[in-house]
Amino acid sequence: MANGWAPFIGLIVLAIFCAGAWFGSPKGENQTIWRSTLLLSAVSMYLMWAITFLAQLHPLISPIREDIRNLGH
């Protein structure tokens, strides 16, 4: 079950990144654009990763491949 914590660990990483992006964004008139772009990118990338990870956490089906016999060994 240790795996199940991965999204939360990812969340912490995300939070750290977001904080870094918020304060590290170059000052000036484009600061808003930097902040919004970096934060939103990070959040959406995290979301998609987490969804993909969760979908495989407890898979209900496993791969079946008939032609694997010919390929193996």
Binding site: I33, S44, F53, H58
Partner: protein
């Protein structure tokens, strides 16, 4: 007023300013403001027509200069003399003095006269040359005709005497009647007409002659081998020389008339061969004289045009700016004594300082003691919406502006769109390899940005170039989603250890089933073992479908959140309690719950529980059709599922009437309360025109604007909002109610349809993946089957084919389709949740914009 920083999040803070400009420096001020490009001037003379305005005369003069410059340009095109590019000038954007403009106008006038006279003489000379050339041909050909005709005078006369005799009989038998050769035509009263005629008319010409003269003629013709160039149109025409012999003066006159009407040019030819030879000699000398004169004229003209071409682009820019300046000045109004120009313009508040200092500079340069005054006016008019864009944000802002103009100070959807648009695209386009292609293309366009901007691009490519930063973001996100989907050109990417192991059979072979590596989940993206399995679609479909719903839910919740931000900003609490809160509860209690169950179902280890996982689709159906019951009551998703679902459903149902009635009834209550207190809308009963009233009242009516009282009463209209129109709308309950009914129905239905709409993310990513698999299997996989030299050759050919198809079909075509779907998700699904969008676009008077719209090539 504390100046706030203008960001892309909201429109820049705008203020309506009034300028009082001394008449003498009006042109200079406007020109300087045009360079600045931050003021949107209002038309203060909208009721007057274009001809009645003050500076019509100047504009007309400039129009004339512009026409002359265009004439030079067309002449240069004709002579194929290149114009010096606008980018080669050091600084063509310096605004010239009025005297310089006058100089330029005079110069262009004299140049036009010179060029056109040169042109005229050139054309006349050319025409003369053509005539001489034609004459020479006629003379040359006519000799042969005469010799042949002389041999046949007998027959000609015979045929003329005898109507039955066929014309042109025995033409080949020339030389028979040598005895008669010396007899002159004139003796026999035979006249002739010689000339040239365009080749395509020759058939008609013959037919007409034949019919009108009933065959009483003898015609000879030959083709001129070289084409004759018409100097007026510069077209090549191939022509024929003809000579017609006929009997009698009337007939000759008739022939002349017919030939001229058909566009033939007639030339005099002498029948005496001696004289003819002299004529030829004379024509030749005249032709050679003409050629040298022509050459001189041409070189003078070319030199003149080359000289013009060196500065033509700069002149065009100057005139264009000058014209725009006067057109803007035409929007200004005057004070009573016509000493001061009064202008009204919207400008970003943060630029006011810059505007003021620019005006001061202009004043100092002109050495005027009267300063240009900048006043800020308070007004009830909607300010225009303005976002300062840069290279990166421009295309994203254009996407949003294409849908509608953002309301002033509303949340700008373009800011999140910078990420969400390419990201949703990438969810549909997820392939690491295709992402690399996109990114490379975008980087190349960004690298050669300057060069590409200056060159002429075709329509499709210029569109892609315009969106190069969108493509850049798309490329990055496509690479990321490609990694998550574990697809690179449809092949797997085994980065980490797989979580699946093929089962080993007793005979040492593998599969067909797999077992999971205990306690290990593939850490990043989809497990690559799913590639090429028999049931990979079963798995990836379920995953991508849920991914779409979850991403859609996130995107819509995010968008709905902006409506709260808007309501808070515009301080309309009724929009929070009447629209946002019930809407949000409705949405979350159905689709938020669905998203929750999806994630929850993933998190539970159903095999360890020894339970069959319930179907989410059926759960949702039961939730609506039989609230309180489950499909398998003994196997719930979680404890108390039935009860919670009933509560959620009730919440959603309760929200509908709140959404429907709260806002209109609250507005009616507010309105009635205000009425009871005796307030009336401005201009509801009486309309007081500020312009007609005296100073004091005018100012009070217009909301106590800053007054400017140290002038005499000549400038009474000084702080009035010129052209103030009543923008107040009367409250109409039925209208508000109908509006809210539509909003409610739309919102509730859209929650369902929009969630379903996000399934396009799944559908398109599935299509993209399948298509790239098919492409691989039809090309590269077959090519791998060959070995040896043939194999190598086939490999190379097939590889190029595969790559070309990948770029054309998968990247360009599929990419366009994914982009359009992403566009739709933004315009419809996301923006319908919060976009108000009844703004007025900010169109500043700017030379830069002007030159971008009408480039001087």
């Amino acid at each position: 007023m504390a100046p706030t920083k203008d960001t892309m999040f909201r429109s820049a803070d705008m203020s309506l300013t009034q300028l009082y400009i001394a008449n003498e420096i009006g042109r200079e001020v406007v020109s300087a403001l045009g360079e600045l490009g931050v003021m949107d001037f209002r038309d203060l003379n909208s009721e007057t027509s274009a001809f009645q305005r003050t500076f019509t005369q100047e504009i007309r003069r400039l129009d004339n200069v512009e026409r002359q410059l265009r004439y030079f340009h067309s002449q240069m095109d004709k002579a194929s003399i290149p114009m010096r590019s606008i980018y080669d000038f050091n600084n063509p954007f310096i605004s010239p003095k009025a005297s310089e403009i006058d100089e330029l106008a005079d110069k262009s006038q004299s140049l036009e006269n010179r060029i056109s006279s040169l042109n005229e003489s050139y054309e006349t000379l050319k025409k003369r040359e053509v005539e001489l050339t034609e004459w020479r041909w006629v003379l040359r050909e006519a000799g042969g005709f005469f010799d042949r005709a002389r041999g046949q005078t007998e027959e000609i006369r015979h045929s003329l005497d005898n109507d039955d005799a066929p014309l042109l009989q025995d033409v080949e038998q020339s030389g028979q009647g040598e005895a008669a050769a010396d007899r002159s035509f004139s003796v026999m009263n035979i006249g002739f007409v010689a000339g040239v005629i365009p080749r395509e008319r020759i058939a008609a010409f013959e037919r007409i002659l034949w019919r009108t003269l009933r065959g009483n003629l003898y015609m000879n013709q030959s083709e001129i081998p070289e084409a004759i160039i018409n100097p007026e149109t510069n077209e090549e025409v191939s022509k024929n020389v003809f000579i017609i012999f006929a009997h009698g003066k009337e007939i000759i006159a008739k022939i002349r008339k017919i030939s001229e009407s058909l566009g033939a040019d007639l030339y005099s030819v002498d029948e005496n061969s001696e004289l003819r030879r002299d004529q030829i000699r004379e024509v030749n000398t005249r032709l050679s004289d003409l050629a040298s004169v022509l050459k001189n004229t041409k070189s003078t003209l070319d030199a003149e045009l080359t000289a013009i071409g060196r500065s033509l682009a700069a002149w065009m820019v100057i005139i264009k700016k000058e014209k725009a300046t006067y057109q803007t000045l035409n929007k200004f109004s005057y004070d009573h004594q016509r000493k001061t120009l009064i202008a009204e313009a919207w400008a970003p508040t943060n630029y006011l300082g810059l505007i003021k200092s620019t005006l001061r500079d202009v004043n100092d340069q002109a050495g005027l003691s009267v300063p240009t005054i900048v006043n800020q006016i308070k007004t009830t008019k909607t300010p225009p919406t303005y976002f300062k864009t840069n290279r990166f944000t421009l295309a994203f802002q254009t996407i949003i502006d294409a849908y509608g103009t953002i309301k002033y100070r509303e949340v700008n959807p373009a800011l999140p769109t910078i990420v969400t648009f390419p990201f949703l695209f990438a969810v549909m386009f997820g392939d690491f390899g295709h992402g690399i292609i996109l990114l490379t293309a975008a980087l190349a366009m960004i690298y050669y940005e300057r060069k590409l901007q200056r060159s002429k691009l075709d329509e499709l490519f210029s569109m892609i170039f315009y969106g190069r930063y969108i493509v850049f973001m798309m490329g990055i996100f496509s690479m990321y989603t490609g990694l998550l989907y574990c697809d690179a050109f449809s092949k797997e990417l085994p980065i980490f250890k797989s979580m699946w192991k093929w089962t080993e059979n007793d005979d040492g072979s593998l599969g067909p089933t797999a077992t999971r590596v205990e306690g290990y989940t593939y850490p990043f993206g989809l497990d690559w073992r799913w590639h090429d399995t028999d049931n990979d679609l079963l798995f990836s479909n379920s995953y991508k479908m849920k991914l779409s719903i979850l991403l859609g839910w996130c995107h819509m919740t995010f968008s709905l959140g902006w409506s709260l931000v808007n309501a808070l900003y515009f301080s309309t609490p009724i929009d929070i309690w009447g629209n946002f809160v019930p809407g949000m509860i409705f949405f979350q209690s159905i689709f938020g719950y669905l998203s929750f169950t999806i994630v929850y179902k993933w998190c539970v280890d159903w095999a360890a529980r020894g339970q069959n996982p319930p179907s989410l689709l059926n759960m949702l159906i039961y939730m609506f059709l039989q609230p309180g019951t489950l499909e398998n009551p003994d196997q719930p998703l979680y404890k108390g599922q039935a009860g919670i679902q009933v509560v959620l459903l009730l919440l959603a149902v309760i929200c509908v009437p709140i959404l429907l009635f709260l806002k209109p009834f609250y507005l009616r209550y507010e309105h009635n309360k205000a009425r009871a207190l005796g307030y009336r809308g401005i201009g509801e009963n009486t309309r007081v025109s500020a312009l007609d009233d005296d100073d004091e009242e005018g100012q009070n009516l217009n909301g106590g604007r800053e007054s400017f009282g140290d002038d005499d009463d000549g400038i009474a209209m000084i702080t009035q909002d010129i052209g103030h129109g009543g923008e107040h709308e009367e409250f109409e309950f039925s209208e508000v109610m109908i509006h809210q009914v539509i909003h409610t129905i739309e919102f509730c239905l859209n929650c369902v349809s929009h969630t379903a709409s996000y399934l396009r993310l799944w559908a398109l990513s599935l299509a993209h993946q399948r298509l790239s698999i098919v492409l691989w299997e039809m090309t590269m996989k077959i090519a791998f089957g060959f070995t040896g030299i043939t194999g190598a050759i086939i490999m190379v050919v097939v590889f190029y084919m595969w790559f070309a198809l990948t770029v054309a079909v998968l990247c360009v075509m599929e990419g366009t389709s994914a982009m359009l779907h992403s566009l739709r998700l933004h315009w419809v699904e996301a923006m319908s949740k919060h976009f108000i969008g009844d703004g007025v676009p900010f169109e500043p008077f700017s030379f830069k914009v002007l030159l971008e719209e009408e480039p001087v090539e």
